[in-house]
């Protein structure tokens, strides 16, 4: 691929566009990947100054470069308050935006397809797209099995026009991680050389995923996540037939692009997700790529025939049948130890301890597993409990404005007893410090009093506890006491 172009030079009206860029910086809550929304914003701004040509979104983005966020001076001429707010904003950006409880597909069968074509040798992500993808894929595997312990995953790669299988469909994370290591360092029969080669073929990838997910049971989801760095796909046949087949087989495809937005990817995502293409996103930089990848560890919302889709607010007429709610027969084995070692059914090793299937008394080493004797799903109750926080998510906490902080008078965080900044003198009827909006919070929705309030119990927390409780603990300490 050619190197990225030289710096884009604006043609005219420099100083006014500079103001425009700063405004757009402030208004955005997070880097938008959808070109549609930023294009509309750009056009709305440009329409104000009618005689000038409306600027496309890519023009303003190229001029802005990385949006570091412009620091503003506070009322007393210092910027350290603003720096803290930037840090807080970055921390809170990780929180899930939508915490309505939806029905989610907990038992997932996911195929992760990595792009191993020549486009991945591009060095716009350090050290190269290929190495970053492999590293993030290993982290992704661990995170995925932590969030979805009863799911299964398989990893494939698009290499030189073919789709190669890196690891088989299984629920054991160590297997996938070691397979990824082999990709990085080459395999003995040299099926997969170390370096990426050739072009990517989306059709082959989709066909292979469809075949792999063919025999998965009905009560689980069938998902494909493609990481695409190339800007083209080289297919042996008609990809639209494949897309139709995938939609008929209840596959739901999500694509994370690294280079740019492609029409074919948009079509794949839309057709397999019943018209909703929010599963197609393009990473702006390395950190964003990681966030997009980790966001897919959350179980997907199950769509029924007449639900309102959470993102697009349109009733989705589903041409692929949604996962029906069903009652699953699952075994909960207990750990047994015997004085004499016996063979385990999964590896053939001699072990003393293991879990016995309640249906056929076969011994397996580790859970979650499918019994090799009778195909019975075996899990521990803790594995089910791991998924509860997806079904009953913790509601987001509201940033607290200075008047409200003065009203409640909290001086320390409820959970960690970290001290809050004092309420400044004279706050009571005022609008708060330093920002223009009347509610006392800045445009990004971060309260500048450093407090965050839980809607149910009314206790105030600091930003670290906010992130910790929403990311790791998934419960509110105030509501529980």
């Amino acid at each position: 691929m050619a190197d990225s172009d030289g710096e884009y030079i604006q043609d005219e009206h420099d100083d006014d566009e500079h103001d425009l860029a700063i405004d757009l910086d402030d208004e955005e809550e997070m880097p938008t990947t959808s070109a549609l929304s930023s294009r509309s914003k750009g056009k709305a701004r440009a329409r104000d100054r009618q005689p000038r040509r409306a600027r496309e979104a890519w023009e303003t983005t190229a001029q802005r470069g990385k949006s570091y966020g412009v620091l503003k001076e506070g009322a007393d001429g210092r910027i350290d308050g603003d720096v803290e707010r930037e840090a807080e904003r970055r921390k809170r950006m990780r929180l899930r935006q939508d915490t309505r409880p939806f029905q989610r597909g907990i038992i997932r069968h996911v195929i992760l397809i990595l792009d191993l074509s020549e486009a991945m040798m591009e060095k716009d992500m350090r050290p190269s797209r290929y190495l970053i993808t492999l590293r993030y894929a290993a982290e992704y595997v661990r995170e995925f099995f932590e969030q979805n312990p009863i799911s299964q995953m398989s990893i494939m790669g698009m290499h030189d026009g073919l789709c190669v299988r890196i690891s088989e469909l299984s629920g054991n994370p160590a297997e996938h991680v070691s397979a990824l290591q082999l990709v990085r360092h080459g395999r003995p029969p040299n099926l997969l050389p170390r370096e990426p080669k050739g072009n990517a073929s989306l059709q082959n990838a989709l066909e292979m995923s469809r075949a792999a997910l063919w025999h998965t049971p009905n009560h689980g989801t069938r998902e494909v996540i493609i990481v695409l760095g190339a800007l083209l796909t080289l297919d042996p046949g008609d990809i639209h037939t494949t897309i139709r087949q995938c939609a008929k087989d209840r596959l739901s495809v999500g694509i994370i692009g690294m280079s740019g937005r492609l029409k074919i990817c948009h079509e794949i995502c839309a057709k397999t997700n019943a018209g909703d293409d929010s599963s197609y996103s393009v990473a702006l930089d390395q950190q964003h790529f990681r966030e997009l990848l980790m966001a897919t560890t959350t179980p997907p919302v199950v769509r029924t025939a007449s639900t309102v889709s959470p993102n697009t607010n349109t009733t989705s007429t589903n041409n692929n049948t949604a996962t029906p709610a069903s009652l699953l027969k699952i075994g909960f084995p207990s750990r047994t130890t015997s004085p004499h070692p016996s063979l385990c059914a999964c590896h053939g090793n001699l072990t003393r301890a293991g879990y016995t299937c309640p249906q056929c008394r076969t011994k397996v080493c580790a859970l979650p597993a499918t019994c090799p004797g009778c195909d019975f799903t075996l899990i521990l109750s803790t594995h089910l409990a791991r998924s509860y926080h997806h079904l009953f998510p913790l509601k987001n906490w509201v940033p607290v404005s200075w008047p409200r902080a003065a009203e409640v008078g909290s001086r320390a965080c409820r959970a960690c007893l970290g001290a809050f900044p004092d309420v400044p003198a004279g706050t009571g009827t005022g609008t708060g410090m330093g920002t223009g909006t009347g509610a006392g919070t800045d445009g990004n929705g971060n309260g500048n009093s450093g407090r965050y309030e839980c809607g149910d119990c009314g206790s105030h927390f600091c930003v670290d506890c906010d992130v910790c409780c929403h990311e790791t603990i998934h419960s509110c300490p105030g509501c529980l006491s």
Binding site: E143, S326, F332, S334, R335, D375, A385, Y388, C465, S481
Partner: protein
């Protein structure tokens, strides 16, 4: 004998060596969070049967805390009481909120008192120990005296989930305070790849080793199941072991918590030797535990309890929507917790076709196809599920 072989000089050389390399490795600071179950009902029951009262246990715990603090100069401790309807910090004392509803010129003047007043007793006592003990006892007395009889009458369970969650948040915050640049979420896992090198920050070792110690006297709390499990997984993720000292009551959740997080579970048989149990089993921190043989390690029952009868089940039927477990396939196909219609196709295994036996006098009905919504017969080999 060469000059370098003299022991004094050898030691001198070693000091120079460490001085060149930087610093003598010191054990990392360790945070101990004690969660004390102060459920008055359970304590009343316990003291009437065994004679072990709350004040006994608190006194032993104070000695234990002093020992923990004596181990290392930078060790920290926190004390949380899990009471009937609240979980409150006994140490460090939480500052009281100061709501001011009228606008004053000096809005930041603290109205409530932060400091614990009163004499601290014996002035010969080591001052940090005396201070902590004084705060804990004062706060505990305030907590108990502020409990009303109506609260006691309303419920007999304790807020263990709230105490555990608060303890976890406190530990996380203390870790962040000690290493403000590290990402607190991924401190226990691989950190995000840095711009230049991929070395995760966790390779240097955690800055603060925390552990949570729970003294529990109450039984299991079914309605707090989800919160307690969330807390257990969060502790597992942050590598915080949860130790349990069980004086009364039986709980499976806390046993699973110990097992999942790598903690120590002890149910003392002789109550008088409480301090000995504390000192021997619970005092070593995470770095020392690697070299010691810790007590406990009994059988942990991981089987699930069904939601309808609280029976322990081997084979359960799980609703795919809300993940609730039932012991039998529901007769009408409606989940008890989420009220959604469930298809029973996966649950019922059809009885295999039987050839009618002509020799028997009683005609056995040849069953084929689905047998309706009944449980599979016991003697029949299960078909493919």
């Amino acid at each position: 004998m060469a000059l370098t072989e003299l022991p004094q000089l050898q030691m001198g050389f070693r000091d120079i060596q460490t001085a060149n390399t930087g610093f003598l490795p010191a054990p990392p600071p360790s945070l101990l969070t004690v969660v004390l179950d102060t459920n008055p009902h359970a304590w009343e029951l316990l003291s009437s049967t065994t004679g072990l009262t709350l004040s006994n246990v608190v006194a032993n715990l104070l000695v234990f805390i002093n020992a923990h603090l004596a181990f290392n100069h930078v060790n920290q401790v926190a004390f949380i009481a899990s009471h009937v309807k609240r979980a409150v910090f006994l140490y460090p004392t939480p500052p009281k909120p100061t709501p001011n509803t009228n606008t004053t010129a000096n809005g930041s003047a603290p109205n409530g008192t932060d400091t614990i007043n009163g004499t601290m007793g014996d002035s010969n006592k080591y001052r940090p120990f005396a201070r902590i003990e004084h705060e804990i006892l004062t706060n505990l007395r305030a907590l108990i005296s502020s409990t009303t009889t109506s609260t006691l009458r309303s419920t007999t369970t304790t807020m263990m989930a709230g105490a555990l969650t608060t303890a976890l948040a406190y530990s996380a915050k203390q870790s962040v305070l000690l290493s403000p640049l590290a990402d607190p979420i991924s401190a226990g896992q691989d950190a995000t790849a840095d711009y230049n090198d991929g070395a995760p920050a966790s390779r240097r070792g955690p800055p603060l080793t925390s552990r949570i110690m729970v003294v529990s006297v109450s039984g299991d709390l079914a309605h707090q199941y989800i919160s307690v499990m969330n807390a257990i997984f969060a502790a597992q993720r942050q590598k915080i072991p949860i130790d349990i000292l069980k004086l009364a009551g039986d709980t499976v959740f806390l046993q699973q918590a110990c097992d999942a997080t790598g903690g120590v579970y002890v149910e003392p048989e002789v109550a008088e030797g409480l301090l000995q149990y504390l000192m021997m089993a619970f005092l070593p921190d995470a770095t020392a535990r690697r070299y010691l043989v810790m007590p406990g390690g009994g059988e942990v029952d991981f089987r699930a309890a069904c939601f309808c009868h609280r029976k322990v089940v081997d084979v359960g039927f799980v609703c795919s929507v809300c993940l609730s477990i039932f012991c039998q396939p529901l007769s009408d196909g409606v989940c008890l917790t989420c009220n959604s219609r469930l298809s029973l196709a996966g649950a019922i295994t059809p009885a295999p076709a039987l050839f009618p036996r002509k020799k028997k006098k009683k005609k056995r009905i040849a069953g084929d196809g689905t047998s309706g919504a009944s449980t599979p017969m016991q003697g029949v080999t299960p078909g493919p599920s």
